[in-house]
Symmetry: C2
Subunit: 152 residues, 2 copies
DNA sequence: CTGACTGCAAAGGGTTTGCAGTGCT
DNA sequence: AGCACTGCAAACCCTTTGCAGTCAG
């Protein structure tokens, strides 16, 4: 499943601009890798991104994928989700959003909620630290896993 | 930092009861390992738990710690937090609670909020899956990391 | 041109597994 | 006494690193 073309192109433009502004070289590998993440909507892990990129660029190496992903994270162009079963998963959606995580298969889906975006932060939080962002994680069983279980 | 004695003893009792009910043997290792997690309040990783247990039981092995932790997770006696820097972190607090995560050092602190416990789940969620629990994650910089940065 | 970048191969670090011996119930 | 459980060591898997050659600006 992919995102729409307009959003995709916006992401690519922003990516190029940030690289230029940061004095980082725009290589074929980097573009392909970011495109792969920017196109996706399902929080792929490094291996999945690697396989996707390799279809179009058979010589990329997995370590370049890693190096690029951490660089993109550093630049704030992508984010990571809490690791699932040892693999880090990446997300090109940097707008505020929330996650549904399937406790059976680990699949993670984005969702948006005005209400959740505006949660009031408890006062006690001031004692703990400086808040940067707030996210709601809803855990449950996704539709697909429900169906599988019903088959038994 | 430790939790209070009453809560600790309650946790141990429940642990013993669940093991017995599940027909799982109560070994010294298992008790020591669970005690180590049950005593903690700071979401230790497997290695940290291992070191703690080894003080009292110098012959335990790291793999027994892992085997026990996954077993406890399976039984629902503990939970895990999204992996931080490849290490899985464990939590004996199975009551509904929320987390503050330091985006600098990864430290995770529990906090409680009546309001967050009662969040209204969006209707669109019905299309996605069956909700089991809802958790709020607040990301920011913890007090200690703030101090460190001020020293530069 | 030239320093940043890449691919390769090998190392690293957390976690898992097979096996033979041990110890709960 | 029997079978689940443990410790050991080696394997596994994701990720990182050193190095020599390559390419974007």
């Amino acid at each position: 499943m992919h995102i729409n073309q307009k959003e995709f192109e916006d992401r690519i433009d922003k990516f190029k601009e940030i690289l230029k502004r940061s004095g980082i070289k725009l290589t074929h590998q980097r573009l392909e890798i970011y495109e792969e993440v920017a196109r996706s909507v399902d929080h792929p892990d490094a291996e999945t991104i690697f396989k996707g990129v390799r279809k179009r660029m058979p010589t990329v190496s997995l370590d370049t994928v890693y190096r690029t992903l951490w660089m993109l994270l550093d630049l704030g162009i992508i984010t990571t989700l809490g690791t699932n079963h040892r693999k880090t998963r990446f997300d090109a959606n940097v707008k505020g959003h929330h996650h549904f995580v399937c406790s059976n298969c680990g699949k993670t889906l984005d969702f948006y909620s005005r209400e959740f975006d505006q949660l009031k932060i408890p006062n006690t939080m001031k004692m703990i630290g400086d808040v940067q962002k707030t996210q709601v994680i809803i855990e449950g069983i996704c539709k697909q896993c429900q169906k599988k279980k019903n088959n038994y």
